[in-house]
Amino acid sequence: MYEALSCQVIEISRGTMHDGPGLRTTVFLKGCPLRCLWCQNPEGMSAAQGVWWEERKCIRCLACVEACPSGALWDNETGIHRDRGKCTLCGACVEACPSQAMTFTGQEWSLDDLVRAVLKDRDYYEAFGGGVTVSGGEPLSQHRFVGQFFRRLREAGVHTALDTCGSAPAAALDAVLPYTDHVLFDIKILDPALHQQFTGQSNGVILQNLMAVAETMRQNHWGRTLSEGHALRLWIRTPLIPDATATVDNIAAIARFIHQNLRDVVERWELCAFNSACKRKYDKLGLTWTYEDYPLMDQHSIDALERVALAAGIPREKLVVSGLVAKASA
């Protein structure tokens, strides 16, 4: 018998091509211990349920304002506003909204339902050498669920990938890693003080966890098998955030760290170029975002960072740049 587990999901994205090998379904879970200033999924930061409002879909019928039993909603020319203090998250506004402009930020999914949902694309995972990735938020914040979820997927023969920021108790990692085929591990900033400044936490635990992943791989003879017959693979990911992570010093430091400590286990280091597509999400949450006016990175800056990484000893074939880059003329 399996436990009747459930989790809070912010989004299920099918057919993703950038969250691990092949074609995948990525499940974004709610709740994250970090507070990265550039966070691309701000609705996933808080583990608690929330309500957000999308201007584009709103027809200003004010059914939500009328339906709210706590008087927490009001409207003016800039949209519908919510008093977080008064709101009890009862959902009356969500129910009243005819156009899905007012919605919950998270949906509760049972383990069974989620397994069933992601298995719908199983034939495509097989054909494309893909599988299922959990991301977030921070999936390890719901590690009991993720462990069981991966266990079920593995029983079904589906490849599993964990996309983690690394900030979690060691026990969380222990619960998930045995059923994980692939780890996508973020190293955002190597300098602990800067890490604290940009993400709200130092990176001591994160790097410890990363070393633990590496140790697991080594103990299980990298390239051979884990106890259940699966090789564990590791990709490092670094978001390239202007003035924060995308500095020559930081990339050089991460490159040295990988080269010195992880070169036997890291298969790929991916530099993910920044984009501001998630501004819409900050708008929906009624938040302002530090990075909303930041342009796309240009090829020149990315080339410079690549050179730094290569100079530190990272092999060319392990270094991958992804994401949108500004056109030279722009």
């Binding site: 994205s13 099918r14 057919g15 993703t16 091509m17 950038h18 074609l23 027809i59 019928c61 059914a63 005819p98 156009s99 899905q100 719908k120 694309d121 034939d123 495509y124 054909a127 494309f128 992804s322 949108l324």
Partner: protein, 754 residues
């Protein structure tokens, strides 16, 4: 005589085999696709000539105000000069095959002969029978049509079949003519005047075709005699020899085979209907192997002959791959050569690759590579086994079912044996849906099952109206507008003395019916079930009033209907409604027979009905009156929010063996594949899984949306001259489409990711 307007500089450039220094500066547009093969200077000249004809409107279909594309096989040079002397105009019209044949022969006998420098494949046409001969239905038939249209059923028969060119390739026009004469003599002897008269019409047509090809031989000989350039002189001589032989005889070499097929197709296009032409790789394989073995054909020549033919024909529907009579993979060397010939020139075409699990891997890989590199939905990928099973299910025996071929937009048929009125008839499902709502209000229906039962009744009414309408046409079709030319390369008409469109002229005469608006009705029914019957938030009377007034003053209600689950998102509950409607269609249409005693079959497709929504009005799926309806079996634009795989899964839930095709139409932007290499592998892996799950056809355009939007406003920009898109079932040059079609195309680009 009518010569085609050409750019003088191009026409006067050096012949093939020599580099042409100044081609690039005035060639204007170039193929912006990573090339696999390099175009010879000769092919560059011919491609440029073909493009100029298309862009200058000389191959326009439709009218100047409402162009439907640039894929006409004929080249505009003005009206037919001898129009008043046409026998049916000069001597009186008769609705008979003999009169039809006499007109056809007169028209062809007055065709100019066009042979251009640098060409090896020759033959052009400038007029169609539709332009010269009347095709008017009597009022009694049209009255039936009006009544049927009110019930949502429509469509005038016009061609849309597929000849079996293997007949003429093996017998030659002379062989066909002998069979016509023999059969005619038999019916004269037996005093069957109508059949003898029909066969006389066929005889005149066949003789005019032979004469037309012979005139090419004569003209080429004249040109050769006057020519001083040795290469060009030799080329004219070869054309003369080839045409002199194939005018009467079966082709002996690969070159003659391609030229024979070219004439066979253009003379079919003279009729003016949308036919397919069969399996080009099977037609040509024997001649190809023979010419290769004789050492008279290089790889490059094999490709170029077909490229030339494609440039002149504007493509046409040919198919490749599939299985043979033993159900083994039918892919052969020619399958590759045909795709290479397209790969060499890009541009307009309508090739179909018939996939099955055992298809030659290298060939399917190459097909996906061609599709991914050009991004213009060429080739179309179709699921051969499902097409074959659909034919078997209709009653076509095993010995014929394997011959099935993708023949047009979304449809398939048995070459030379099937006249099924593909792609011309339609049922607009919105009509029975509206009647269902009205009837349900009258009867006070309060549950979805009773509501759906009413829909079944109303759909039956529409289907019966279609049957009456089609039967009233079938009584007269063989005399009003026979498909006499196509009948010559079919199995039955000559010996039976019956045209293929007439009763029992060919063996398989099912009536195919395109269905418009299934996704809209499925979405509407799901919303009605939820909001009217389950939640009882609205009454059916409110739904009726809201849609009849285009939701005026009821935006919250419209949003509520719009925001229910929609087809195309892999939601089992909604998809089940969709599947249920398709099952109703298969059952109701399949239970009715036409005058020929054969079933009606639904096709889950509509070639353009979705872009003319005005008369239909708003619908309970939340659609406003001016918004386009869903395209065929594809979700309404903007409603598939879960990505391409989810939509593919929704579509694959339909049992395609019960239908006559239903295309998944995919428009992607190049950035979809940013940072990815070997895009063709994505195409291959996706389509193979989709087909294994039950999908029958994929049309894939990979187009830069910004470029298309800009091309709408700046069609003169050289960068935009050569963009080909698959509109629905057919491909066209984007800038040659009417604005409404362009707009619909641009708006439907909706997959951000798999």
């Amino acid at each position: 005589m009518g010569t085609v307007l050409l750019d003088e500089r191009v026409a006067d450039t050096a012949p093939g085999g020599r580099p042409i220094a100044d081609l690039a500066p005035h060639s204007g547009v170039v193929m912006k696709v990573p090339p696999k093969f390099v175009q010879s200077p000769r092919i560059q000249i011919l491609a440029q000539r073909s493009r100029e004809l298309a862009i200058s409107g000389k191959r326009r279909l439709g009218t100047e105000d409402m162009p439907l594309g640039d894929h006409a096989c004929w080249i505009h040079i003005g009206p037919f000069p001898q129009l008043d002397e046409l026998p049916s105009r000069a001597n009186g019209y008769e609705a008979t095959g003999e009169s039809w044949g006499r007109d056809y022969a007169f028209l062809v006998d007055h065709f100019p002969v066009d042979i251009h420098r640098d060409e090896r494949i020759v033959g052009e046409i400038h007029w169609e029978m539709h332009m010269v001969r009347q095709y008017v239905w009597p009022d009694s038939v049209r009255e039936v049509g009006k009544w049927a249209a009110e019930l949502g059923a429509s469509g005038y028969s016009s061609g849309h079949t597929c000849p079996d060119l293997a007949i003429g390739l093996s017998q030659g026009w002379g062989g066909i003519l002998e069979r016509i004469k023999e059969s005619r003599e038999k019916y004269v002897r037996l005093d069957n005047q109508p059949k003898a008269s029909y066969l006389y019409g066929l005889q005149m047509i066949c003789e005019s075709v032979i004469g037309f090809i012979q005139r090419h031989a004569e003209k080429a000989l004249e040109l050769a005699q006057a020519e001083t350039d040795p290469w060009q002189k030799q080329t004219y001589q070869r054309i003369a020899e080839c045409c002199a032989h194939i005018a009467v005889n079966a082709p002996r070499t690969y070159y003659e085979g391609v030229q024979w097929i070219h004439f066979a197709v253009i003379m079919d296009r003279v009729v003016g209907h949308g036919n397919g032409y069969g399996r080009l790789d099977l037609y040509l394989i024997d001649l190809y192997r023979k010419s290769r073995a004789a050492g008279e054909l290089s790889d490059e020549e094999a490709r170029e002959y077909l490229s030339e033919m494609f440039l002149k024909l504007r493509g046409q529907f040919f198919s490749l791959g599939g299985r043979d009579a033993e159900l083994k993979d039918a892919t052969n060397e020619m399958s590759f050569v045909v795709l290479e010939a397209y790969d060499l020139i890009g541009d307009y075409n309508n090739l179909g690759v018939m996939w099955h699990p055992g298809i030659n891997r290298d060939f399917y890989n190459y097909a996906c590579d061609v599709l991914a590199r050009h991004g213009e939905s060429i080739p179309v990928l179709v699921n051969y086994d499902l097409m074959r099973e659909a034919e078997l299910r209709s009653g076509v025996p095993e010995e014929d079912a394997w011959k099935v071929v993708y023949s047009g937009c979304q449809w398939f048929c048995i070459p030379g044996k099937e006249f099924c009125d593909q792609d011309v008839n339609s049922i607009n499902l919105i009509s029975p849906m509206k009647r269902t709502i009205a009837a349900a209000i009258d009867r006070g229906i309060t549950d979805f099952e009773s509501f759906y039962a009413l829909f079944d009744e109303e759909l039956t009414l529409t289907a019966r109206a279609l049957r009456e309408w089609k039967n009233s046409q079938y009584e007269l079709l063989g005399s009003l507008w026979p498909e006499m030319y196509t009948s010559m390369n079919s199995h039955g008409p000559i010996e039976r003395g019956i045209d293929m469109v007439d009763n029992r002229g060919v063996d398989y005469q099912y009536t195919s019916v395109n269905i418009l608006g299934i996704p809209n009705v499925a979405d509407a029914f799901h919303a009605i079930r939820k909001l009217v019957f389950e939640e009882q938030r609205y009454t059916l009377a409110e739904v009726k009033e809201a849609t009849e007034t285009n939701w005026a003053g009821r935006e919250p209600m419209r949003q509520r209907f719009l925001n229910q689950g929609k087809f195309g998102n892999d939601l089992d509950e909604v998809d089940a409604v969709f599947v249920r409607i398709t099952e109703s269609l298969a059952r109701i249409l399949g239970s009715m027979v036409n005058l020929r005693g054969q079933e009606f079959r639904a096709s889950l497709f509509h070639f353009q009905g979705h872009v003319t929504p005005d008369a239909i009005g708003a619908t309970p799926d939340g659609r406003l009156a001016h918004e386009y309806l869903a395209h065929g079996i594809n979700p309404q634009v903007g409603r598939a929010t879960e990505g391409l795989l989810a939509t593919a899964n929704s579509i694959a839930k339909v049992d395609q063996r019960k239908f006559q095709g239903g295309t998944m139409q995919i428009e992607l932007q190049p950035r979809f594949f940013d940072g990815k290499e070997e895009i063709w592998k994505y195409v291959r892996d996706f389509t193979e899984v989709f087909f294994k799950k039950g999908g029958i056809q994929v049309n894939l355009n990979i187009m830069d949306l910004k470029k298309l939007q800009d091309a709408m406003d700046h069609p003169e920009n050289p960068d935009y001259q050569n963009i080909i898109v698959r509109v629905t079932g057919y491909a066209s040059r984007f800038i040659c489409l009417p604005r409404s079609y362009q707009k619909e195309f641009v708006e439907r680009m909706n997959y951000e990711g798999f």
